[in-house]
Structure formats: structure tokens, C-alpha cells
């Protein structure tokens, strides 16, 4: 192989490599745009947002000392001397709805158990039940917020 041959070969090679580099760059970028577009297309939220605000009617419906289950939230509204408290009945483990039992609440899915104040008696749940924010509106209704 003499010098000229070698030079020619190098030029051809690098030209080819250069073209290939640009082409692959174009193709990778195109791939990124297609993938990005696809992700944007698929990540559109087509289902209505979950309700986070519940008007559960007049506060008079929940007399002192009452513990009322509100299935639509789901939550337990407790009226004590210190006021109204809404205890979430959504299990803090994986979100199933708790069922009341003798000691408090039990989860039908994985058998977590909570006492009447919402503290964990036994797992797999580790966090106590959430106490939901409450507001009393001007016309005397109770509003419960889950978020």
C-alpha cells in the first residue's frame, strides 16, 4: 500500500463515517421526537379527576357523640366535645376501603387493622389513618377535603 492509496482510503473512510454520523444523528433525534410525541399522546388525562371536595350536608345531621360513616368519601365523621373530625377510611397500605369491626377498622384486602382513633394495631399498613380537613360553610354545611 503506497501513500496515495492509503490517503484515498482514509478520505473515503472518514467521509463515509462522517455521513453516517450525521445520518445517525438525524435518525436518533427523529426517534427522540417520535418517542416524546408518543409519551405526550399517551399521558393525556382522559378520565375525570377524582373528587377531592365533599359537601356532606348540614352539620345538624351529625349530633354530638355521633360517629357517621360517609361511604362516598369514604370517611367516618366523628362529633365530639372538641368538634368535628373526619377520619379517612381508606387503608394507608394500598387504598382499599376499611370495614368497621369490634376494635376499630380492618382492611379486607391485606388484613391491616386500625383502632377507633385510626392508629395501626397491626400491619402491613404502617401509617395511621389520615384525618381529613373539614370546613363548615356559611350556610352550616360540612365540607370534607381529601386533598
Amino acid at each position: 500500500m503506497n501513500v496515495t492509496q492509503w490517503k484515498n482510503k482514509m478520505t473515503d473512510l472518514s467521509r463515509r463515517d462522517f455521513l453516517k454520523l450525521i445520518r445517525n444523528g438525524f435518525l436518533y433525534l427523529s426517534g427522540v421526537l417520535v418517542t416524546g410525541g408518543l409519551l405526550r399522546f399517551l399521558s393525556y388525562e382522559s378520565e375525570p379527576k377524582r373528587k377531592t371536595e365533599f359537601d356532606i350536608g348540614s352539620a345538624d345531621n351529625y349530633p354530638l357523640g355521633s360517629r357517621t360513616s360517609i361511604p362516598e368519601i369514604p370517611a367516618l365523621l366523628i362529633h365530639t366535645e372538641s368538634g368535628y373530625t373526619a377520619l379517612s377510611l381508606t387503608c394507608t397500605h394500598l387504598g382499599c376501603t376499611l370495614e368497621p369491626n369490634e376494635t376499630g377498622f380492618a382492611c379486607p384486602c391485606h388484613n391491616s387493622s386500625f383502632d377507633e382513633a385510626g392508629n395501626v394495631i397491626h400491619g402491613p399498613a404502617v401509617k395511621p389513618l389520615q384525618v381529613l380537613r373539614i370546613e363548615i360553610t356559611d350556610d352550616g354545611n360540612i365540607k370534607v377535603f381529601t386533598a
Partner: protein, 409 residues
Amino acid sequence: MQNKPTTFHFLLLIASGLLLAALSFLWWNDSRQPAPISLTPTLSGETEYCLTCHVDLPEISASHPADTFGCVSCHGGERLALNADLAHSTMRGGANPSDFSVVEASCGGSNCHSGSEADDRHHIQRVMTSVQSTYAGAIASIRYTFGAQTDLNAHFGIQAVIDEQSKTGISSLETFNPVDEAHPSIQKFGEECLSCHLHAEPREGEAYARETGCAACHSTKKHTLTTAIPYTQCNACHNRGNYDLRTMTFVERTDHPTQRIDDYYQPIAQFTQCEYTLDCVDCHTRSEVMGDGDIHNDQASIEYVQCKTCHGTLEELPLTKTLTDPNDIAFTLAFLNPIKDLKLGDTIIVTEKGEPLWNTKVLPDGTYEMIGKATNQYFTFRPVMGTACEQKPDEQESHYCHECHAVEK
């Protein structure tokens, strides 16, 4: 040779470049689109995207907040479409959903303006049968004059209407079709003189433009509904020109009058001060203007408010009523046009048919106050009783009052 860039490599390079360019264009084009603005009215719970383009529109009225009603429940249209042509293609009545051809779908419904007579929300039924809409009296009068009918009773309206429970004895009107008429003057009347009435298409031109349907009166400016209706709104029909009975033509005026007393179209008309200071709706009641649900023969049989309604006569004070029922219609009317704080225990003037003039009040000294519904102006006035008025007791209609009290033009 294998290592040389071939034509294919060049073509593939160009193709890759073009593909990237096309995809970039696609992204750029997507980024230019306005972000959709959604609204989920509480009434329907169905999300709509009209606000994407119409975000600047003012709230149409306090009684129809967009958060509750949205746009589509009144206007129709394709609620998800972000293409103007498609979105607007199924709108009711174009920009005016209160046009009588679609009013039932837009404004009706038993919870809205097609309620029962008992709950006083039969607005559509009332306005459809009113003389404002039927023009029955004028049609009957013209047909009688030119020999097409032998009595002055109403048989035709601009559109056919039926009211089987009518208390006036007229249970239906047929559609007046000028083409079917024999006399040329009646035909001419049909061409020239029907355009003001609410069921009819307005005339061309901007000078006295009005909407059709409810909006003719209640929409005083773009995207507004109100019961505070100024006289200028009424003037769109009631002062927009004059008719010539000999040639049976309508001559439109081209100016917008500013002097209310001088610029009324009927030169012989006489006015007292209140007639050109107040707005029409300050004295004329709902049933007079919008009908009472029955089909009436002519304007004279529905219009009844007179000077004496507020001022009484030498022998009688005007009728009044002390508001004791919190469900009194007066409170609803005052709520819709909150120019004053109407309270339980207030005494207001009522008409002889019992309609409340809720913008009035009897003052402790026996005089009266009135607040302009459209202007919010404050007026006081006195009863006739106890004054030096010399009018005969049996001549108490307004035109007798005009003889002394009219302001000279």
C-alpha cells in the same frame, strides 16, 4: 469500493434530514396551539372548552354564572371541539340562543324559563303569546280596514300560537301569511310592518339593530342579560321610524335621538315629565310588556298602567301593599335588579291587577319614592289627593292628565 459513500448513503442522509425536519415541524406546530381551557359547569357536569377562545367574555348575568351553567347549556355547540367551524356549527340560533325558533331548547325547561304558571316561571309561554310577539291587534285592524275580516278580533299572529287555557277567549292564532291576502295594502303591510315584533326577523341595517327573542329586550349590550332595561332598548323598536298608512310603508329614522321629548316619532304625542325622565320599565309591568300567558286581542287589552296607578285620584290614594311574605314576587324582582334593599315590612305601590311596583315605597310622610330601574336615580312624588287638581272623577285615564300636565314641545 465498499467504503465509498454511495448514492444510497447520500439519499438516506437527505431522507433522514427531511424526516427530522418534518417531525420538528410537527412539534413546532403543536407548540403553537393554544392550551385548552376547560370548564365543567356544575349544572351539567360535562366539560367544555369554549373558554379556550372566549376567555374574555364577561359573565352574562348574575343569575347565569358560567361556573354553574357553562356555555353549552344555553348556546349549544360542540363542547370539545377546538376548531371554530365545528365548535360553532351546532350553536342554537347562531349567536343568539334566545331566538324564538330555539328558545325552548336554550332557555326553556321546567327548572328554567318554561316553568308552570303557578311558580310564575312560564316566561317563554308568556312572551310567545304576548302582542309584542304576535302583533295580533295590528294585523286584525289592517285586515278589517281592507275588508279581509268583518270584525276586529284577532285571528292571526306573526307565528301561530296556541293557548288552550287562555282566559281571554282567544285560544289560538294562525300564522299571518301576507301572500295569501287579496288586498294589496295588506300584502304591503305584511312586507313592511312586521319586522319589529319579536317573532319576526329584524330589518337590515345597523341604525336600530335589535336581537330577536328574549335578547331583543334583555340584552342591552354584548353578552349581557338584564332586567334593568333602559328606554333606549325599547326605542330600538318603539322609536325607530314612522309608518305611512296611505302608502303602507315604513320610514326608518337614521338618527339616534338624544332629546327624548323632541325626538319621539309621533309628533302629536304628549308627554308628562315622568314619561320622558323615567325609563319605560319603571312604570310598565311584566305582564304588560312580556304578556301574561294569555293570547290578547290587541295592545289596549294588555296595557293598563295609568298615571293614577302611582298617583291615585282626588278621591283615592294609589293601591299599596305591605310586604309580609318573604316569597313575594317583589323580592325576586328586586333580587334580579338590585337597585334597592327591599325589606319585609316595606310598603310599596301595587297595580290594580296586583303587580308590585317594587321600585317604589310609601314614605312616612305620605309621599312616595321611586328608584329608576335602569338609571338608579332617586325620585319622590306626591299623590293627587289633597291637591288642587280639578279633573272630573269619571275622567281619570292618562290622556286626560296629559291635557294639563303635558310638557310643551
